[in-house]
Subunit: 639 residues, 2 copies
C-alpha cells in the first residue's frame, strides 16, 4: 500500500515459521486506516543482510509513521511539550504552531517510538476468532493483537532502533570524554525517556555524597583509631539522609516538569501479556478479557509468597551465623599462631560471605520472579511493585543483617568497620563486573562473527553499516530489563552510607567513586551492550522513593542507637544506663517526629512549577465555563 | 424585571444606611443575564414584618432562582448526582433525563443554596471603579462584588434559609424521638451537606467505642484495685486506634461517594474576604488582585506565631506545675488530718485545674484567631489549617501534659486514674454547657420578645409563621462557626480514650455516653440555635484525619510505655531494667512499623467504589479518543 520511503523507528520480529497468512493479516491491520480500526502506520519487510547466512530470520519488519500520524498519536497520548510562553502543555494538533520549535525535530525519536509502541499495543482484534493460520492463538473483540502474538510466542520481540547519528553524539557527550561537567540529561531524556530519571537520580545522589565524602576524609585521616568520635558524624548522617530525600523530590518534580511527564495522565493500563484467567467482562471497561479473582491472588501472596520470603530470610540468617562461626574460628587460629598467612585468613570469611550473599541474592531473584509471575498480577505496575518489595526485603536483610548483628549484638565497632569495608568493596567489584562487563563479554562472544565484520567495516570510516545489518545486530543484543537493578544497587549503597558511615567515614568516598564509574558503565551499557529500550515516561521514581524513605527512617533509628552506644555519650550518664537509654529513645522519637513534620512542611513541588500547574488547570476550567456559556447562548438563540 | 413568585433560598442583609443607588446596582447585577456578566438570579426585597418595630432593617433581600438556572449552575459546579445505573456522575444539562429521579426534588435544598452562593460569590465587577454611592468600597475588573461588600461592611450577612417542612421532618427523625436506630445521615446530608460528614464521623466514632466500652465495664467492675492487669487492655487499645482510623477512611470514602463529593473537583479558590495586600496580577489567573509576599507571611508564622505558641505552651506548663503543688499541699493537709472535708479538698485542685484549662483554651483560641488573621493567608483553607494546627497543639498540650507527667514522671497510676476521671467529667459537662445550652440561652434572651410571639403563634397549630417573620428570626440567630469545635472535642475525647483508657477502663463508657448526648445537642444546635450554614461539600475530614492519625501514633507509643512500666511485665525481667526497656522500645518500633505498613496495605477507598471511579475515568478517556477520531475523519473529509 504505502510504498514511500520512511525512517524506520521500531523493529518487529516474528518467529521464522510464522504462517504467510498471519503475516499478511498483521501487516494489513497495521497499515489500515484508523477509522477501520487499524494503526495507520508504515511497515516494510527487512531485506536479507549482505553476508547471506542460512539461519537469518526473514520475518523482521521495520515500522515507521508519517509526521501527521505521529502528531495525532502525540495528541492521543496527551504528550506534554514546551509552549511558546515556556510552560508545558498537552500537545494538540489544532494549535501546534503555538508550540516552541514546532518543526522537523519537534518530537524526539524516543517519543516517536513510544507513540508507535502505544499504537501497536492498542491495535485490537475486531471479529477475528484467532490469528489467521495459528488456530491456537485465540482472539476476541477488543483483545490487543500484539500482546496475544507475544504471549503465544509468534512474535519474538518488538524493539526501538538506535538512531546512529544521535547515538554517536550522545555517547560522545555522555561517556566518551573524560569530563567534570554533568551528564547531558536533556539528551539522555530524548533518547531514553523513562531511564533518564534514573540517571538524574544517580547524578543527584552522587552530588549529594560530596559533602559527606568531604567530611569523611579528614575523619578517616585523623581519627582512625578513635572509634568514639563518631557522634558528630552520626548527627550529620541523620540530617543528611532526611534532607537529600526531600530535596530530591523537588528536583525530580523539576526534571519531570521540564520533560513533560509530571502531569501527563497515564493511559488506561492493559493487562500484562503473562496474565491469564477465565474470560469475562472487565467491570471498568466492559471489555471481554481474562479475569482472575483478587481473593485467590491475595491467598497466593499471603499463604505462599510471604512464608517463602520469611523462610528465605531465615535461611539467610542461618548463613550469617555460619559466617560468624567461621570468623571466630579464623580469629582463634590467628591468635594461636599470628603469622602473615593467618592474618590473610582473617579476611577470608568476609570475602566468602560477600560472594555467598551475591549468589544468594541472584538465586532468590529468580525465585521471586517466578513467584510474582505465579501470583498472576493483572497489571505490569502491580507485578513490578510486588517483585520490587520481595527482592528489596531480602537484599536489605542479606546485606545489612550481619552489620546490625555486629553493631548491636556483638557491639564490636572494629569488626563493624572491617566488615563494612569488605562488604562494600567486594559487592562493588562484583556488581560492576556482573552488570556491564559480563553482558558485554557474553554478547561479544555470541555474535563474534558479525562483530568482526562490523569492526572491519567501521575501520573504513566513511562507510556506514547498512540498515539491514544494523537491525540484525541490534536484534541480537540483550534486552535491557529496566532500571530495577540499577535502583536496587543505589538503594543498598544509600543504606551503607546512611546507616553505618559514621563508623567507617570512608564509605561515602567509596560510594562516590563507585557512582562515578557507575555513570560511565551504565551509559556504556545503555548505548552499546543492550537493545535500545522503549521509553517509559515516569513522573517520579515511584516505589523507590518509598524504599529510600523507609531506609532513611531506619537510618535515623540506627544512628541514634549508635550515638547512644558511644563511650562519649555514655560518659555523660556515669551512674545509670537506664537514663541513657531513655534519653536516647526520647531524642530518637523527637527526631522521627521532626522528620515527619519536615516531610509535610517542605512542598514536594517547587513553587514556580506549582504555579504553572495551577495556571494550566485554571485555564482549562475557564475554557470549560466559557464553552458552556457560549453553548447556553446558542440554545437561547434557538429558542 | 422578573416578577414571578419564587421559593426564597438565600437571604442577604445589607446595612440599613446603604445608599439607594448601591442597592439598585447590586440587584441589577444579580438579576442580569449571564452573558452580560450577571448572576441571572431572582431577588426580591423582604416586606416589613407584622409587628412593626422601628429598628427593623429594611435592607433584607430574598434570593432564588429558576429551575433551569439551578440546573446550569449545578453543571458549572460539576455536582455529582446518581445516574440511572446507580453510579455517581457529574451532572450535565444535556443528558439530565438519564439521572435517577430527575424531577422536582432532584437538587436538594442545600445544593440549590450552595449553587446560589457560588453564583453570588463569582459575581465579578466589570468596569466599576467602586460600589455606587460608596466610594470607599473600591472595585477593579474581576473582583468578587460580594466579597468586597462583606469586607467593607456594606453587607452584613448572607445566609441560607431553613425550609420549614424539611426541618420539621429532619428534627423528628434526628433527635425528637428517643431511638436506637442510626441518625438519618441521608436526610442530614440533604440539609447540611458539609456538616453531614462530621455527623457521619461522630456516629462512626460512637459505634467504634462500643467494643471498648464492652471490654471496659467488666474490667472496671472486677479489677478495680488491680492496677497491673491493664496490659491486655493496652494491647487492645493499640490495635483499636489503628484499625478504626483505617476503616473510617473507607467508610468516609463510601459516604462521600454516595453524596457525590468524593471526586467532585474543587472550584478555583478565591482569596478570603479578609485578605489584603498590594494590587498586582495573580500569576495563576492573570487577574488583578491583592498580592502579599509569601516570604513575609512565612516570617510572621515562624518569627511571631511560632514563638507565641511556644510561650503559651510554657505558660501552660507553669500552670500545670502550680496544680501539682496544690495537689501536694491538699494531700499533705489530708494526711495530717483526714476528715471528710479534707477528703473533698483532695478533688478541689483537679476541678480548679480543669476549669482553668478550659478558660486558658478559650483565651488562647481568641489569640490564635487574631494571629492567624494577622498572618494574612490568601486562601480560607490555608487560614483554617494554620488555625487548626495552633489550637490543636495547645489544646493537646493543655489536656494531656498533666496526664503524661503523672504517668511517666510521677508514675502514680492511682493519681492518673483519678485525674483522668476528673478531667473527663469536668470537661464534658463544661463542653455541653458552653456548646449548646449557653448559645441557646443567650439567643433566647436576645430575641425574647419575638420568641414569645412565635411560641404564641405556634400554639395555634395550623397557623404558620409568615416568611417575613421567619427570615428576620433566622437573621438574628447566631452564626454556626463550622465544625471546628466539634471535631476538636472529638479529637480530645479520642485522645483520652486511646492514650489512657487502659488505666481507667470506664473512660470509653463515659465518652460513649458523651457522644450519644453530643448527637442530640449537636442536632438541636444545628436545627434550632444557629442560622442554617451554607453547605461546604468535603470529600473527607481533611486535616482532622491527619490529626487523629498523629494521635493514634502517640497512643501506640504511650500504651507501649505503659505496658513496659506495668509490674506484670516487669516481673518477666527480674534482674535487669535495661533489658525491659530495650525490649519495650524494640516492640514499640515494630508496632509502629506494622502500623505504617497497614496504612499502605489497606486501600483508602473500597474496591467497588474504586471500580466505579475507574469506570468514569475510562469512559471520559474513551469519549475523548472517539471525539478525536471523529474530528480526524471530518478533517479527512474536508481534504
Amino acid at each position: 500500500m504505502q510504498s514511500e520511503r520512511f525512517t524506520p523507528l521500531v523493529a518487529l520480529e516474528l518467529v521464522s515459521d510464522t504462517k504467510e497468512e498471519a503475516i499478511t493479516w498483521l501487516l494489513q491491520r497495521i497499515r489500515d486506516k484508523q477509522r477501520n480500526g487499524g494503526a495507520e502506520l508504515l511497515v516494510e519487510q527487512l531485506r536479507p543482510g549482505l553476508g547471506v547466512q542460512e539461519k537469518q530470520n526473514p520475518n523482521l519488519f521495520l515500522i515507521g509513521a508519517s509526521l501527521q500520524r505521529l502528531l495525532s498519536g502525540a495528541e492521543d497520548l496527551g504528550l506534554f511539550k514546551e509552549f511558546n510562553d515556556g510552560s508545558m502543555r498537552g500537545f494538540t494538533c489544532t494549535n501546534k504552531q503555538n508550540f516552541k520549535d514546532f518543526q522537523d525535530g519537534f518530537l524526539s525519536v524516543a517519543e516517536c517510538q513510544y507513540i508507535i509502541k502505544h499504537e501497536l499495543d492498542t491495535l485490537r482484534a475486531k471479529d477475528e476468532s484467532h490469528v489467521p493460520g495459528h488456530t491456537q492463538a485465540k482472539l476476541y473483540p477488543g483483545k490487543s493483537i500484539i500482546r496475544r502474538l507475544l504471549s503465544k510466542g509468534i512474535m519474538v520481540q518488538m524493539f526501538p532502533l538506535h538512531q546512529k547519528e544521535e547515538l554517536k553524539r550522545l555517547t560522545f557527550s555522555w561517556y566518551k570524554k573524560v569530563k567534570l561537567s554533568l551528564q547531558p540529561l536533556g539528551k539522555i531524556q530524548c533518547n531514553y525517556e523513562g531511564q533518564a530519571l534514573y540517571f538524574g537520580f544517580l547524578e543527584y545522589f552522587t552530588f549529594a555524597l560530596i559533602p559527606m565524602a568531604l567530611i569523611g576524609v579528614p575523619y578517616y585521616l585523623f581519627d582512625w583509631d578513635d572509634y568514639d568520635k563518631y557522634v558528630i558524624f552520626a548527627v550529620f548522617n541523620l540530617i543528611w539522609c532526611t534532607v537529600i530525600l526531600e530535596l530530591w523530590k523537588r528536583f525530580s518534580a523539576t526534571l519531570a516538569y521540564r520533560w513533560g511527564t509530571l502531569s501527563r495522565k497515564k493511559a488506561f493500563e492493559e493487562p500484562r501479556p503473562g496474565f491469564h484467567g477465565v474470560l469475562g467482562f472487565n467491570p471498568v471497561t466492559g471489555r471481554e478479557e481474562p479475569l482472575y479473582p483478587n481473593a485467590k491472588r491475595q491467598l497466593r501472596v499471603y499463604c505462599v509468597s510471604l512464608p517463602f520470603v520469611l523462610l528465605c530470610l531465615y535461611g539467610s540468617l542461618y548463613v550469617m551465623m555460619i559466617y560468624f562461626q567461621m570468623e571466630g574460628w579464623a580469629l582463634s587460629l590467628h591468635d594461636e599462631d599470628p603469622t602473615f598467612w593467618t592474618g590473610v585468613l582473617l579476611f577470608i570469611p568476609s570475602i566468602i560471605y560477600a560472594v555467598v550473599i551475591e549468589v544468594l541474592n541472584l538465586i532468590y531473584r529468580y525465585a521471586a520472579e517466578f513467584l510474582t509471575e505465579w501470583e498472576n498480577h493483572r497489571l505490569e505496575s502491580s507485578y513490578q511493585n510486588h517483585l520490587i518489595l520481595k527482592v528489596l526485603v531480602f537484599n536489605f536483610f542479606n546485606c545489612f543483617a550481619s552489620l546490625f548483628y555486629i553493631a548491636f549484638v556483638m557491639q564490636d565497632m572494629v569488626l563493624l568497620r572491617q566488615s563494612l569495608a569488605t562488604l562494600l568493596i567486594t559487592s562493588q567489584i562484583l556488581n560492576q563486573f556482573m552488570e556491564a562487563f559480563l553482558p558485554y563479554w557474553l554478547q561479544r562472544r555470541r555474535n563474534k562473527k558479525m562483530m568482526r565484520r562490523v569492526t572491519k567495516m567501521r575501520t573504513q570510516e566513511d562507510k556506514e553499516l547498512p540498515i539491514e545489518e544494523q537491525v540484525r545486530l541490534e536484534a541480537d543484543m540483550s534486552t535491557y530489563l529496566g532500571t530495577f537493578d540499577d535502583y536496587l544497587e543505589l538503594f543498598l549503597l544509600f543504606g551503607y552510607v546512611s546507616l553505618f558511615s559514621c563508623v567507617y567515614p570512608l564509605a561515602a568516598v567509596l560510594v562516590l567513586l563507585n557512582n562515578i564509574t557507575e555513570v560511565y558503565s551504565d551509559a556504556f551499557k545503555m548505548c552499546r551492550v543492550f537493545k535500545r529500550p522503549f521509553s517509559d515516561p515516569a513522573s517520579n521514581i515511584g516505589v523507590w522513593q518509598l524504599a529510600f524513605e523507609a531506609m532513611s527512617v531506619i537510618a535515623v533509628v540506627t544512628n541514634c542507637a549508635l550515638i547512644g552506644m558511644s563511650p562519649q555519650v555514655k560518659a555523660y550518664f556515669p551512674e545509670s544506663d537506664m537514663q541513657l537509654i531513655l534519653w536516647t529513645v526520647a531524642i530518637e522519637h523527637g527526631l522521627l517526629a521532626v522528620k515527619f513534620i519536615l516531610t509535610f512542611l517542605i512542598p514536594d513541588v517547587p513553587k514556580p512549577i506549582q504555579i504553572q500547574l495551577a495556571k494550566l488547570e485554571f485555564e482549562s476550567l475557564e475554557a470549560l465555563k466559557k464553552k458552556r456559556v457560549v453553548s447556553g447562548k446558542a440554545s437561547d438563540g434557538k429558542k
